[in-house]
């Protein structure tokens, strides 16, 4: 599964994209798994209310299932326009 990071999440974790192999069933489980890896992940995911998540390029929430998913992205609230 590809994991993408944008804006300050990308900067804090230190990379824009990585491929992970995971057994996580939901986004929340994936976040817990990543946070347990290294301090930079734990820091980036410390306040989930400041984060948004997209699964296969659709905005969703942290309860979303990862079954059959190819791409998950984490980023702060959007500031377009």
């Amino acid at each position: 599964m590809d994991i993408l990071y944008f804006a300050w999440v990308r900067e804090r974790i230190g990379l824009p994209k990585e491929r992970v192999t995971t057994q996580a069933a939901t986004v929340s489980e994936l976040v817990a798994e990543l946070s347990a890896r290294e301090e930079r992940y734990a820091a980036a995911f410390s306040d989930l209310s400041a984060l948004r998540v997209a699964v296969d390029q659709e905005l969703t929430d942290f309860d979303a299932s990862l079954s059959g998913v190819r791409e998950v992205a984490f980023f702060p609230p959007m500031t377009g326009g």
Partner: protein, 147 residues
Amino acid sequence: MRILVQEEPFDLGAESEAFASARHDMGAIVTFTGVVRDRAGGDLDVMEIEHYPGMTEKALSKIAQDASERWSLGDVLVIHRYGRLAPGDRIMMVATAAPHRRDAFEAAEFLMDYLKSRAPFWKKEHTRQDAGWVAAKDEDESALSRW
């Protein structure tokens, strides 16, 4: 419906003219153009806009589609830039064409409200001293409750 996500500048005059020329059965055309404003201190060097290639186009198409289903529209245009912009540069534009003015206005406002909070763009301000990500405004999120 035309959605463009691009790094290069767009020609506001030419886009406005082309959009307005495309249909003769629309009585009302509204455009919105977003411009990089300098900061209060006048120290903004660069406004960097990051986006999520692939998702950006999908999100903008979805927003334009939603607007077309909700209002009677003849056409919708969305152009949004990414990359490094300077104060005074135009970031984006939307245009709506409708038989009646209320539809054209409301749809353009709807597009802007959703584009602000639901399209994957992030702004970072670079000054001579430092750089920081622009925080999302509560008012932008609450603007969505109008619709």
